[in-house]
Symmetry: C2
Subunit: 339 residues, 2 copies
Amino acid sequence: MNLKELAERLKLSQTTVSRALNGYPEVSAKTRRRVEEMARALGYAPNQQARRLATGRSMSIGHVLPRSLHEMLNPVFMEFIAGAGETYAQRGYDMVIAIVDDGQEESAYQEIVARKKADGVMLHGPRVAETRHTLLKSLDLPFLVHGRIPGAEDATDWIDMNNRRAFERAAHLLLDLGHRRIAFLNGLEDMDFVARRKAGYMTALNDRGVELDPALMRNSAMTEPFGALSAREMLTAARPPTAFLVSSMITAIGVSRAISECGLRIGQDVSVITHDDALSFLPNSGEVPIFTCTRSSVRTAGIRAAEMLIKRLIDQPVEPISELLEADLILGQSTGPAG
Amino acid sequence: MNLKELAERLKLSQTTVSRALNGYPEVSAKTRRRVEEMARALGYAPNQQARRLATGRSMSIGHVLPRSLHEMLNPVFMEFIAGAGETYAQRGYDMVIAIVDDGQEESAYQEIVARKKADGVMLHGPRVAETRHTLLKSLDLPFLVHGRIPGAEDATDWIDMNNRRAFERAAHLLLDLGHRRIAFLNGLEDMDFVARRKAGYMTALNDRGVELDPALMRNSAMTEPFGALSAREMLTAARPPTAFLVSSMITAIGVSRAISECGLRIGQDVSVITHDDALSFLPNSGEVPIFTCTRSSVRTAGIRAAEMLIKRLIDQPVEPISELLEADLILGQSTGPAG
DNA sequence: GTCGAAATCCAAAGCGGTTTGAAAGCCGTC
DNA sequence: GACGGCTTTCAAACCGCTTTGGATTTCGAC
């Protein structure tokens, strides 16, 4: 069932039928209704390929993931995607995901443009030294950054969580509880969000005149063993920390494992605050959550991000658009006053 | 830069250029070389929309995820996708992912067919009472199941891990170590793989004449708290288990948390075996892995699945194709002889 | 009754490829 | 030198939709 057949059945031209279905004004309400009914009755749906070719728009949004990035952000990424995907579907966009070898990103983007695979792309996991945005600008491919690109905050569309403020507040909470030796397990140093979280932590400690101890600050991919190993080493060292600030819940789980294994009790002997991305398979939201945490739903971020990118594609606003989400600071069972 | 321009530059017809680039035999080697060079020089890449319209193939593969399924399988799903995505990219296919509300699946598939959005789809998370495959058959949309559909093993393409054997072996290992009270924390009961794992567990226990204790068997979404809560309750009950068989590493982490909190030592006082999907953010592969586990890389499964589905699309084999992957049983630190 | 604007509708030209059916070029053969 | 059989190339149709520019109809105003 295609437009032509449908038009013949209706004894109308393809033009009129097309216009009726696409909501153009130059068709009478009566005709429009007739067309719509017939289309429904015959189960007509316009062929997407044909429409794309004719309009020049692909009605899809691309996500290019270098493999290394994907591996680090896997669960978080998926949740973001899920949120964005919802919105895409509602708005009639498709989501195409390309997972490419590191270093193949550039050609992936070029191909998206050359072959008109997507109308816009989502840029994931911006680094401290980011370059992808300049490529995208030169390719004239619309994009939105999930996170922020240092130095390009005013020149790109982005949505981000206020990492700095969240971690500053979390650190302040620990300081308020009397903790002075606060370990900080953070993600890989070249990621922008990692730098911002570190800045928040440092600001808080500086505010209170607490000296930074490099021995208490570590960076790594945010795995469970990273948390367990680090915590174990730190807790058995000369001057152990009394609290941990942890960038990811998975790592925090590792930390709490180490704490138990050291014969200590979490929340009493040692405090832990983590960041909770509100991942569905890692719920931390009982009556009293296990972990005290900064929480910001990455899924919600995905939803907003998709809306913003689509807005960019359709309305083409002159000014860059951006949104900064604040994280909640949520009290759980993993924090208590310093011994 | 499109075909027409390229052909003009070469002083050839579009036909010849198209054929040269697509490897048709009726074009001389010399001409072909000339065309290829010019195409490369001018950075020509055929417009995908146009090609799709002309060929009727979309050169993309769909993944339709009902929201509930996505939430349960999130991390595993993402890893599978990553594997499949690699293969798609290599073979020139795009991956389009649709995340839809529960109950919208049917219309999502219909739309894929009506609008020619994808040439085939991957079917995720088959249930014990599965029906999607009959819909897909009637829509004549090629698909491959990740997992197996009970009763349709011989009528559908699928790739699966040998869940039953894996869990049977794991249970046997625990039995060999002298454990008799073996708790089993499994996924949601309506999933096919959950049923198979249960069958494996039950077979092993029956083999040794160990009676099943319903109090030791639980089903739930495989979250961390599910593991922690269940283990805590069981360990503090009248006749506590001495070992846990756990369907997911995330849940196993919860179990180990509960074990510690009960003042017990994992691997000594209580044994744990889990299934390890080899997720990148949950490494369990040090010199001696933390968890004794059955391991099967879901990413590898994704790679193979994509290859198989593409084979289906291209070669259209008459017989259904399938592949059963065996899991490794890997000894870690979490198992030891029953006290 | 005529005129002009507004409201409807239509034929045809793209969009950028693939593919069919036919023509042209080339070669050796009789 | 005409002919048959390959190889190589081409013009044109086609995929199914959107959209331009124009034609036709409607209708109130004069």
